[in-house]
């Protein structure tokens, strides 16, 4: 049972994650698999993707980010309202992955702050759900700004 206002707000926030899927590459298939009925991300209260950054809480960056696309990602992140979190989905968004070339951003944490890294090429849905639960723990335990 929650005992303080801080815990109560954290409880509410972690079970009502409105996500913005920023899907650019093959990781999107795993994202769809996770979001659909078989793995059912709605069990965690995160089954409601919003396709406007102004209505979303969590930015799922799914797939390789190129330098040409980097300003777009930054703009989407800047448009989101506080409180907001970022999930780096797949190894390309974590570190650049196997790309080391003229086009690819070597990890989105060079552009925007990241809360949860989900490595894998692509990560399995179980791995994604594990990352989502870690994000929920993080949301619950942090100081809730109102």
């Amino acid at each position: 049972m929650t005992t303080t206002l801080n815990d109560a707000i954290g409880w509410a926030r972690k079970y009502s994650i409105f996500q913005y899927p920023f899907v650019t590459a093959c990781c999107g298939m795993e994202y769809m698999s996770t979001a659909c009925a078989h793995y059912d991300v709605d069990r965690f209260g995160a089954g409601f993707p919003r396709f406007s950054p102004r209505q979303s809480d969590v930015l799922f960056v799914v797939g390789t980010i190129s330098h040409k696309l980097a300003p777009v990602l930054k703009k989407v992140y800047d448009q989101m309202c506080e409180p907001k979190w970022v999930v780096a989905f797949g190894v390309c968004t974590c570190t650049g992955g196997f790309y080391d070339n003229y086009a690819t951003v070597m990890g989105i944490d060079t552009l925007i702050p990241v809360d949860v890294y989900i490595p894998g090429c692509p990560p399995r849905p179980e791995n994604v759900l594990d990352g989502l639960m870690k994000l929920q723990e993080k949301i619950q335990s942090q100081k809730q700004e109102i």
Binding site: H67, K74, T110
Partner: protein, 161 residues
């Protein structure tokens, strides 16, 4: 009956410098002077009828010591009426990598030539809109040239890493 490439060599002796056979595909090596007129006649002459420019690309031969030139432009032509394919190769020197644009012959050459400019730095004289197509405007250099350092970073925003 002469092959297609040999017929071309006979008909354009001043432009066609060599005839190759690459895996069964007829291929001619052509001087860059007069390339536009040569390709124009390949398209318009009913004997050839190459009405389809399937691809236009380039190769950087920087580390090939036996090659006397730096770049090679490759036109991949196809004749829909004769079901016939032809490769046209044009060597370009390192000092002045420029060639006449063929956008007035095949409109589809527009984006191909922009891509070759973007990736290899080969200029196309007479192109209506020769600017980068894949990389962003602020990008410096041409990434598919062999002397471009592959792991150098040019971020639009954010710190270097």
């Amino acid at each position: 009956m002469l092959s297609l490439a040999e017929r071309l060599k006979e008909k354009f002796p001043n432009i066609v410098t060599g005839v190759l056979d690459l895996k069964g595909y007829p291929t001619v090596v052509v001087k860059k002077e007069g390339i536009k007129g040569f390709l124009r006649s390949l398209k318009d002459d009913p004997e050839f009828g190459f009405n389809f420019l399937m691809d236009l690309s380039a190769v950087d031969y920087l580390f090939w010591e036996e090659k006397e030139f730096r770049f090679e432009i490759i036109y991949n032509l196809f004749s829909l009426s004769k079901n016939q394919r032809l490769f046209v190769k044009v060597p370009l020197p390192e000092a002045d990598p420029a060639i006449d644009s063929v956008t007035s012959v095949w409109a589809s050459a527009n984006w191909y030539e922009r891509e070759v400019w973007d990736m290899f730095g080969v200029r196309f004289n007479g192109h209506p809109n020769l600017k980068r197509i894949l990389m962003y405007e602020e990008f410096k250099g041409h990434p598919l040239k062999k002397d471009y350092r592959y792991n150098q970073r040019q971020p639009l925003i954010g710190p270097l890493n």
